[in-house]
């Protein structure tokens, strides 16, 4: 089994990609709605990632 070494950002991005796919697939009624919801989830994951990242950076002073 190859060893994978990732940064915090890469790990969070991978998590966001796969979680968004599942959230998109299991929700909504049509494929178009699922695609839009999955993309929206991914966008919100990324926004939250930057927001929390900056909050931690600023919180540390």
């Amino acid at each position: 089994m190859p060893r994978l070494s990732v940064t915090h950002f890469e790990a969070a991005l991978l998590f966001a990609i796969f979680s968004s796919i599942v959230l998109g697939v299991v929700s909504k009624k049509t494929d178009r709605e699922r695609l839009r919801y999955g993309l929206r989830c991914f966008a919100w994951f990324v926004v939250a990632l930057f927001a929390v990242g900056w909050a931690m950076y600023l919180g540390h002073g």
Binding site: F15, F18, V25
Partner: protein, 137 residues
């Protein structure tokens, strides 16, 4: 008189036990059994990828552990999350990919990826159950 604006045909409810059992053992398997091949494939790809990434990051599996309330919640919850991946979990434990818990952010992320894969599979199981019982198309 027939109603011209009648809703589209609703899928016939069927026995959901084998569907949910297969959905647990093989991510997306329930959807395959219900002939939702595209969605089943995407679910399998996502859950299996997340699980494999967790293993490649050398993430540890959770084992049930007693102690204070927080310890019980974390370790029992983590164990259930790992277990929810079905065959992926059993195969990785049987084949010796169960990693020891060591310090480091990558290993820590790996453990979270393993649990998250199981939790995503729970969402897939619920979706398969809803389709099988006719609550959802």
């Amino acid at each position: 008189m027939a109603n011209s604006s009648a809703p589209a045909a609703v899928s016939v409810p069927r026995n959901w036990v084998p569907v949910v059992a297969l959905a647990w053992l093989v991510p997306g398997g329930g959807h395959f059994l219900l002939k939702r091949y595209g969605r089943g494939g995407l679910l399998f790809l996502s859950v299996a990828s997340m699980f494999l990434l967790g293993l490649m990051m050398r993430g540890p599996m959770f084992h049930p552990q007693g102690g204070d309330l927080l310890t019980v919640i974390i370790y029992y919850g983590g164990f259930l999350g790992d277990l929810a991946s079905g065959l992926l979990y059993f195969l990785s434990v049987w084949l010796g990919y169960n990693q020891p818990d060591i310090a480091g952010h990558v290993h820590d992320y790996g453990g979270k990826f393993l649990v998250a894969a199981g939790l995503l599979n729970v969402l897939a199981m619920v979706d398969a159950w809803e389709i099988a019982t006719g609550k959802k198309d």
